[in-house]
């Protein structure tokens, strides 16, 4: 055997050992994190045991922990999900389309791109202050006493308070700003993933840029955009700091628009129009409030609310995964 052969053989076993060791370290890290999450979930479930029942979901907050429920917080969060999605999707997708399809690759575009990524890292409380000034108080332009602007619609009248005040809409607008950078970046990634061969084929057939975007690029990018939006909104739902700044109420015995169940939407349709301009609370606010109360039982109530919040997040993430899976089966490049 030559010298190099000898060295090779003696080192070979050690090299394999090192490889296996590295693999074990990676696996251990993963199990550690999973373990932490399981411990966290178990401790919450343990604390919430017996406190999470149907009554919990249908009652308002109370000074008696056994009667406290998250009805107000749940509906507040649901309205926030709706309006945040409504505001952030057109703006975010529009901006992404502009940056990817229309803008020329100039220094200005690069500047916007860099700042966009930076915005995603700004602490949420800063957005809270922004929302307070711009949406809640509207720079003080309308004074502190709200004047109501009545906008007649087909079956009802929209009553918009100016300034918006501590309403669902002001909070939704603030949260939309918060997640906008994430939505834009996710949408951009989805648009970039559409192969250029598709665009070329469309142009070569005599399509305008808008037709190419509408018929080829957007449909192909939709699953990616949807997934990004759902993940961004699910992040917004857990945000407490901006809502605190906006002034979400903490002890609330009503739901926005007085809609406390799906039945109410049918029996009291006016509530749908009033809800955005109503005051509100949200799940994270309610949780935070309960945790801070002196009575020990409220810890259990808070734990139950945390479980509800986790279920909401799980449902949203599950929807994102489902959409991604379904569309990936259809589009095969």
């Amino acid at each position: 055997m030559s010298n190099s052969d000898q060295t090779f053989d003696s080192r070979l076993a050690a090299r394999h050992r090192l490889g296996r060791l590295f693999g074990l370290v990676c696996m251990a890290s993963t199990w550690f994190v999973i373990g932490l999450l399981v411990v966290l979930l178990m401790s919450i479930a343990w604390q919430a045991a017996g406190w999470l029942d149907w009554g919990f979901l249908t009652h308002f907050d109370s000074r008696h922990p056994e009667e406290a429920g998250i009805l107000a917080g749940l509906w507040g969060s649901l309205w926030l999900i709706l309006f945040t999605t409504l505001f952030s999707v057109p703006t975010g997708v529009g901006a992404a389309l502009y940056l990817e399809e229309y803008a020329v690759n100039s220094w200005l575009r690069r500047l916007i791109q860099v700042n966009l990524s930076n915005l995603a890292g700004v602490p949420s409380i800063v957005f809270g202050i922004l929302g307070l000034t711009v949406f809640v108080r509207m720079f003080g332009l309308f004074g502190s006493q709200p004047k109501v602007v009545a906008v007649p619609l087909v079956f009802t009248t929209l009553e918009i308070p100016l300034p918006l005040g501590r309403t669902v809409i002001a909070a939704a607008l603030t949260l939309s700003l918060l997640i906008l950078p994430v939505v834009i970046v996710a949408a951009q990634e989805a648009l970039r993933a559409v192969p250029s061969s598709l665009r070329k084929a469309s142009y070569a057939l005599g399509a305008t840029q808008w037709q190419t975007i509408r018929h080829q690029v957007l449909p192909a990018a939709t699953p990616g955009i949807l997934t990004g939006v759902i993940l961004a909104v699910s992040r917004a739902i857990g945000e407490t700091a901006p809502l605190v700044m906006i002034g979400a109420l903490t002890y609330v015995a009503f739901t926005p628009g007085d809609i406390a169940s799906p039945v109410d939407i049918i029996s009291h349709p006016n509530g749908v129009v009033e809800a955005p301009f109503d005051m509100f609370t949200a799940l994270p606010i309610q949780i935070f409030n309960w945790v801070s109360r002196p009575k020990a039982e409220y810890q259990h109530v808070a734990a139950a609310a945390i479980l509800v919040l986790l279920v909401v997040l799980l449902v949203m993430n599950g929807a994102a995964i489902f959409i991604r899976h379904r569309f990936q089966r259809r589009i095969r490049w």
């Binding site: 084929a201 142009y203 070569a204």
Partner: protein, 280 residues
């Protein structure tokens, strides 16, 4: 004022003496003559085409051959202005279709591309049904009538020799077709807009010999009604299907000749070296 190519072809039809070579029975007013004059093309500061002057005749197949990177594909793309999509491109000289400079400011590039169809090297059907793929061109041009679209789709698929294979699965995904079928679908798609000219950038290079033979037969049939310009690396293919061949080298047009003559008795030594395989 944008140039109306429809009106233009009527005018051209009314002046039979100006049509090339006095072929008897110019029954098809489609198929247009392409001419470039002193065309130079630049990607930014990089010049890729040098002073190319060429005439491409109607209802014939013109092959563009040459080594990789010699500018054939770039030249092809100037005809339907697909280079416009790339940032930083510019040109000097003229590219004209039926006598009109395609880069003139009055020319609507969307109308031009309806007139000049393109088939790419790698087939790129849309992730839609076979029907929707072929109907896309006419649909975006404004055809809404379902029966009309169905008629156009059937006609285009028949012209692309794909109708029999696809007629029972018109609404299945185009991505389920084989490579050769997908490329014929792309040809049908390009034919659906009723173009005068068909530009083909190495249409069979990604296909197996059987599919390649089918595409070549198809091109032979199509040249009766369309002006076809085909870029190819395969000299045997050029020899098989084209009427005239242009040899490009390093961005310059070295020689353009009747195919039979170019491949047997080329005038330039460079051409001879290329076709005998001494380089490229």
């Amino acid at each position: 004022m944008t140039i109306n190519f429809e009106a233009l072809s009527e005018v051209a039809q009314a002046r039979p003496s100006c049509r090339a070579e006095g072929r008897a029975g110019n029954t098809n007013p489609k198929a247009a003559k392409i001419e470039t004059r002193n065309l130079s093309f630049y990607y930014g500061s990089n010049q890729v085409l040098f002073d190319v002057s060429i005439t491409i005749r109607e209802r014939s197949v013109t092959a563009l051959i040459g080594p990789s990177g010699c500018g054939k594909s770039t030249f092809l793309r100037t005809i339907n202005r697909m280079n416009d999509i790339i940032e930083g491109t510019r040109h000097t000289g003229q590219v004209s279709l039926e006598g009109i400079d395609v880069y003139a400011p009055q020319v609507d590039v969307v109308a031009l591309r309806k007139r000049v169809g393109m088939v790419f090297q790698k087939s790129n059907p849309f992730p839609k049904s076979n029907f929707e793929n072929v109907a896309y061109g006419p649909r975006i041009a404004g055809t809404r009538n379902k029966r009309e679209l169905a008629r156009i789709v059937e006609r285009s698929l028949k012209r692309a020799a794909l109708w029999d294979e696809v007629k029972d699965r018109l609404h299945d995904s185009a991505l389920a077709l084989s490579g050769g079928q997908q490329q014929r679908l792309c040809i049908a798609r390009a034919l659906a807009t009723d173009p005068d000219v068909l530009l083909m950038d190495e249409p069979a290079s990604a296909l197996d010999p059987a599919s390649t033979a089918q595409i070549e037969d198809l091109i032979f049939e199509l040249k009766k009604n369309y002006t076809i310009v085909i870029v190819t690396h395969n000299m045997q293919q050029a020899a098989r299907i084209s009427d005239r061949t242009a040899f490009f080298y390093d961005g310059r047009l070295v020689e353009m000749e009747k195919t039979t003559q170019l491949f047997t008795k080329p005038s330039e030594k460079q051409t001879e070296d290329y076709i005998t395989g001494r380089f490229g």
